[in-house]
Each structure stands twice: as structure tokens, then as C-alpha cells.
């Protein structure tokens, strides 16, 4: 029996606001939501943090499990780990000025994630070109960058886990570097450090959800871009109009962002645009991602080497926590790329040396990912499947969702599993 709660590790839910209309039911890719006594409930372990329910809820009863800027204070060193999607929120502004704005807001360090995305890109190219000869992993390889895609595969397409590119994700590279180089000196001085992930989507797990012995050290807090945007835009405007630009000391290259085109990563296709792989595809959107994954499972697309999947339409620009409309942001990115072109800051030789040392190898066994979802529902036998078919024939439904399930098929399954009552269906009650 699965637990049914209202909030998950990725989203918070305010029951009082829920009108029970069920707009969130059909958009949930793992069918984790039901309406019970006119309020939404979630099968918590099935939430993959995609944010689809946040996007469609008109009452705004669902929000991301992120914090606001008020958590910043003087008692700790605040390190901002910045997704390049943030740059795309400020059309015409250079990424380095956005990072300066964050410094003004009270972050002692700003880490530009696009630096690590580049690092990842070199490593990915290397793995793919070696895989042509070694056949270590099956084609097409799937980008591990979007965590929702990886969780979706683990939940719905576990057969495709070997296709997920086994290279450390940029976020992991970034966190490792910060923990290696930046944090130790503060800890030596007994200063408290907090890592702030500035994200366009609710994919960072709420630490409150983790057991006490798995708590991240130093503590990690996720901030939604829309949580900090109102404050940040004031600082960015100030920086742009000021005669004297404030100066902050940076020790590492990745503490600022010297290029203008870093926001390209926020766009669908941004990952593969500059990659040295001819046979690649970029797919965005939840429905499109699922359709492609289904076809890969059928054995299609084996002539493609790499597929960049983003479950948000138009890529991370379409993330549900962004402050600027995705099409305006896309236009801003395109202008930046036009002005600065493509190009990388890092040198291939250096990255290859790291690659040889195994610095990009994931130590995680992909098949372990399936355990993320706790106790899975029991597989159906032929008898139960027959019962489900019988229920479906009985209700002759139209996926109206009035029963509180996302569709008739799911409702019939719930009935057979004993988690719903047959007369919850309006077609049955009418008879």
C-alpha cells in the first residue's frame, strides 16, 4: 500500500487552496495524483519533480520545495551555484553583471555552472567517440543533464537506464569542485557555509525529505529563480546604470562568467549545438520526451548517437520557476549567441587529462536508480489484468477524471488493487 500525502520531496501543497478541479491529474507523467474528498493527494514516492502540476494549478496550491531570499543572513558564507538559465532572464545583460547582482544581494561566492557544463561537454564527446569502437553503452545515448528525464527513465523506462550517458552530471562536477577548493578554507576558520542552488525548476530534493544521516554537509538550499528575481533585478539595474562597477575579488575562473553566450545552455538544443557529434537530436517537452523514449524502447533511433532530452518545452527556459516568459528568454539567448557566437573557454587537453584520471566517471550504478521510488506497485497478473479490462468495459468511460483518477485505465487499476471504489465512477452511479 502506497503512502498518500499532499507534499512530496519536490513540491509543497497547500490543501486549503486546492479547489479539487483536478487539472493536475492528467499532466502528471507518473500518474501520482488523485483527488480524494475534493482535495489532491499525491503518491509521494512517485513524484519525479517535473513541476507539471505547479504549471497547471490555477489556484497556486502547489509550489516548489524551494526557499526565498530571506534565508540569506550574516551568520554564514553563502555560495550561489548558478544555473545559466538565470542569465536568460535578463535580456541584453551580460552574465557577469547578473553574477555581480547576486554578490550585491549577499552571496559571497557565485559559481557559474556553464563552466562545468562545458567540462561535461568535453567528457561526453570523449565517451561517445570511444563508445563507437568499444560499444560499451547502447545507442542512442541519453543526456543525463535533466534530472527529471533520468528519474522518468528510472520510473517508466528502466530498460533504458544503460542508455543514460555514464558521465558525471555538471551539477555534481560543480559541487565537487566547490567542496574541494572553496569550502575547506572556511571550514578551517570555523565558518559556516551554505550552498544555494539557483534553479529554474523544482528538481532539487528538499533536504527535509532526507534521513538525518543523509543530510548534505555543508547544508544545501534550493532557491527558485522567481524567488530571488524581484530583488536581483534591482541590483542588476543598479549595476548597469552605475558609473563605477563594484569590484569583487574572484580567485577561480568559474566565479564569474566571461562569455556572453553561456545562456545557450538554457535553450533546447543548447547542449548539442556546439558538440562535436553529428548524429544528435534535441527533444523538449514532457509528452515529446515520453514519445521518444517509447520509440527508443521499440528499438528505433539506434542510428542516433546522442539525444538531449528536456522535459520542459523549449528546454530549461521553460522551467516552471523562471521569471521571464520562455519565448522572450529564448529570443534573448539567440541575440547573445548571434553577438558572441559559439565557443568554449576550457581547453580540451586539460579536460582529457582529467578524463583519463577517471574524474568524470559516475560511481553510481544506474540500475540502483529504480530504488529511488521506494516500494513499487506490484506487477499485474493475467487475472488482475482481466479484472481491469472487465471494470473498463463496465464503466465505458471517457477519461472524465470525475472519480479523482487521471484516466479510466488508472481508475480501473486502483479499483482492482482496492485503492478506489467502483461507485466513485459517475457512469456506475448513474446506472
Amino acid at each position: 500500500m502506497s503512502k498518500k500525502l499532499t507534499s512530496t520531496c519536490f513540491v509543497r501543497f497547500e490543501k486549503e487552496l486546492c479547489a479539487g478541479r483536478g487539472t493536475c491529474l492528467p499532466v502528471c507523467p507518473t500518474k501520482a495524483i488523485r483527488i480524494k474528498t475534493k482535495k489532491a493527494v499525491r503518491i509521494v514516492e512517485q513524484c519525479i519533480g517535473c513541476g507539471q502540476c505547479i504549471r497547471v494549478c490555477r489556484e497556486r496550491a502547489v509550489s516548489a520545495a524551494t526557499e526565498g531570499p530571506e534565508v540569506l543572513n550574516d551568520d554564514h558564507i553563502a555560495i550561489a551555484l548558478v544555473s545559466p538559465v538565470l542569465y536568460a532572464q535578463f535580456p541584453g545583460v551580460m552574465p557577469k553583471d547578473v553574477l555581480l547582482g547576486l554578490r550585491q544581494m549577499g552571496f559571497q561566492h557565485t559559481i557559474d555552472m556553464s563552466y562545468f557544463l562545458e567540462m561535461f561537454q568535453y567528457a561526453a564527446e570523449e565517451f561517445i567517440s570511444r563508445n563507437r569502437a568499444s560499444g560499451q553503452a547502447p545507442w542512442p545515448l541519453i543526456s543525463p543533464i535533466c534530472p527529471v528525464v533520468v528519474r522518468l527513465i528510472a520510473f517508466k523506462f528502466p530498460n533504458l537506464l544503460p542508455n543514460v550517458l555514464p558521465v558525471l552530471r555538471p551539477v555534481a562536477l560543480m559541487a565537487r569542485e566547490v567542496k574541494r577548493r572553496l569550502i575547506p578554507e572556511y571550514l578551517a576558520r570555523d565558518q559556516k557555509v551554505v550552498l544555494y542552488y539557483i534553479n529554474p525548476c523544482p528538481t532539487k530534493k528538499d533536504p527535509a525529505c532526507l534521513p538525518a544521516d543523509k543530510q548534505p554537509d555543508p547544508p544545501e538550499i534550493a532557491l527558485g529563480i522567481n524567488d530571488i528575481y524581484p530583488q536581483l533585478i534591482k541590483h542588476v539595474d543598479q549595476i548597469r546604470s552605475a558609473d563605477a562597477i563594484p569590484f569583487y575579488q574572484t580567485r577561480f575562473e568559474y566565479e564569474t562568467c566571461a562569455t556572453g553566450n553561456a545562456s545557450l545552455w538554457a535553450m533546447s538544443g543548447g547542449e548539442i549545438a556546439d558538440m562535436d557529434i553529428d548524429r544528435s537530436l534535441a527533444v523538449s517537452g514532457m509528452d515529446e520526451t515520453i514519445q521518444y523514449l517509447e520509440k527508443i524502447e521499440l528499438g528505433l533511433f539506434q542510428d542516433i548517437e546522442y539525444i538531449e532530452f528536456r522535459t520542459c518545452r523549449e528546454g530549461c527556459l521553460g522551467g516552471v520557476l523562471n521569471a521571464t516568459d520562455k519565448y522572450l528568454a529564448k529570443s534573448a539567448v539567440q541575440k547573445m549567441v548571434k553577438r558572441f557566437g559559439l565557443g568554449r573557454r576550457l581547453h580540451r587537453e586539460n579536460i582529457l587529462r582529467m578524463y583519463e584520471k577517471g574524474e568524470f566517471q559516475t560511481d553510481k550504478d544506474p540500475s540502483k536508480l529504480t530504488t529511488l521510488f521506494g516500494a513499487r506497485k506490484k506487477a499485474l497478473s493475467i487475472e488482475t489484468m482481466q479484472k481491469i479490462e472487465k471494470v473498463l468495459q463496465l464503466i465505458k468511460g471517457t477519461d472524465c477524471t470525475a472519480c479523482g483518477a487521471p484516466d479510466c485505465r488508472t481508475f480501473a487499476e486502483d479499483v482492482v488493487r482496492g485503492e478506489a471504489k467502483l461507485n466513485d465512477c459517475v457512469n456506475i452511479v448513474d446506472k
Binding site: 521499440l298 542510428d303 493475467i382
Partner: protein, 179 residues
């Protein structure tokens, strides 16, 4: 002329439709019949955009049940190849699945032009696809050979201008029997 695939003898336990062995014996011994599930899906001719949907449905059905992923993959590949054959060459068609504890049968039927020489059609690389099909990346002549390779038994029946029936059998290994 009615043609069937080579190697076919009356002793083969196919076509399964006419001889459902499990059910007959079960009844005669007065034991409850083996549970059996059947489903069929419509395939529309020339609909390249939605081609594959029936196979994906079958794949999703099998995934929610307790089947070996390798078996699911073989069934899905056969279903998809068959579906593409119907979309490319056949008229409208049906993909149906029948399964019980011992075996799974996939049947693809259409009311298209039929296959004139089944032996030739079974050869790898033989194709009657046109240039449009090839431009879309289909028509490599691997459809039927692939279906033969991935199923435990294949039987094809065709009547000129009167459609084709492809029936494939997959044995379901008993629990714990998988290698």
C-alpha cells in the same frame, strides 16, 4: 492462390486460433481454464506519424505485468515491424495480442495486396518498398527477417489481393527458468 510460409506442416501447433490446446485439455479435465487475455488495436494504412502506437500500447501493457524485459523487447520489435509493414504496404489492419501463462501470440492482419512469394519476402534485404518509404528510413527489407529472428515461431498466410496474416508465437519461460 493461398500461400503459407515455408516449413509449415499440419503437425505444427499453429495456427493457434484453431487449436487452443491449453483450454481444451483444461476443460476436459474439469480444471478451471487457464486465464487468458486478448486485446487488439487498429492500424491505419499510410499513417506514418502514428505508426508504432499499437506496439507501444502492447509494450506498456506488458510492462505493467510481470514479464522479462527481454521478452517485452522482442515482442515490441516484432509488433513494430509488423505494424510498419501494414502501414507501408497493407490496407488497414489489426494488431492483436493473446496471452496466457505459457505463451504469447501476436497477430498482425491486413486487407492489403498480399505477399506473392513469402519465401522471397523472408530473405534479408528483399524489399518492395518505394523511394518515399526509403527516404523516411524504412524499407530496408528487414521486416519479416527481423520478426522471424525475434519470435519463437512465425507463420505467414497470404492470399493475393486479399490480405496477409502474420502470426508469431513467444514462449513465456516459467518463473526462475530464465537464464
Amino acid at each position: 492462390m493461398r500461400v503459407t510460409s515455408p516449413g509449415w506442416t499440419e503437425n505444427d501447433n499453429l495456427p493457434l486460433k484453431d487449436v487452443p490446446p491449453a483450454r481444451v485439455t483444461a476443460r476436459s479435465e474439469n480444471v478451471s481454464p487457464m486465464p487468458r487475455l486478448t486485446k487488439s488495436y487498429h492500424i491505419k494504412a499510410r499513417d506514418f506519424i502514428r505508426a508504432g502506437e499499437a506496439s507501444i500500447n502492447i509494450q506498456n501493457l506488458l510492462k505493467s505485468m510481470d514479464f522479462d524485459p527481454r521478452l517485452i523487447r522482442r515482442v515490441a520489435i516484432c509488433g513494430y515491424e509488423g505494424e510498419m509493414n501494414v502501414v507501408m504496404h497493407g490496407g488497414d489492419g489489426t494488431l492483436s495480442i493473446e496471452l496466457d501463462d505459457e505463451k504469447l501470440t501476436l497477430e498482425i492482419s491486413d486487407d492489403g495486396p498480399g505477399i506473392e512469394d513469402i519465401e522471397l519476402a523472408m530473405q534479408a534485404g528483399y524489399s518492395t518498398a518505394n523511394d518515399d518509404h526509403r527516404e523516411m528510413g524504412f524499407g530496408a527489407g528487414m521486416g519479416l527477417p527481423n520478426m522471424k529472428k525475434n519470435s519463437d515461431h512465425i507463420h505467414i498466410e497470404s492470399l493475393k489481393n486479399n490480405g496477409t496474416v502474420v502470426r508469431m508465437l513467444f514462449m513465456i519461460p516459467e518463473k526462475g527458468e530464465t537464464d
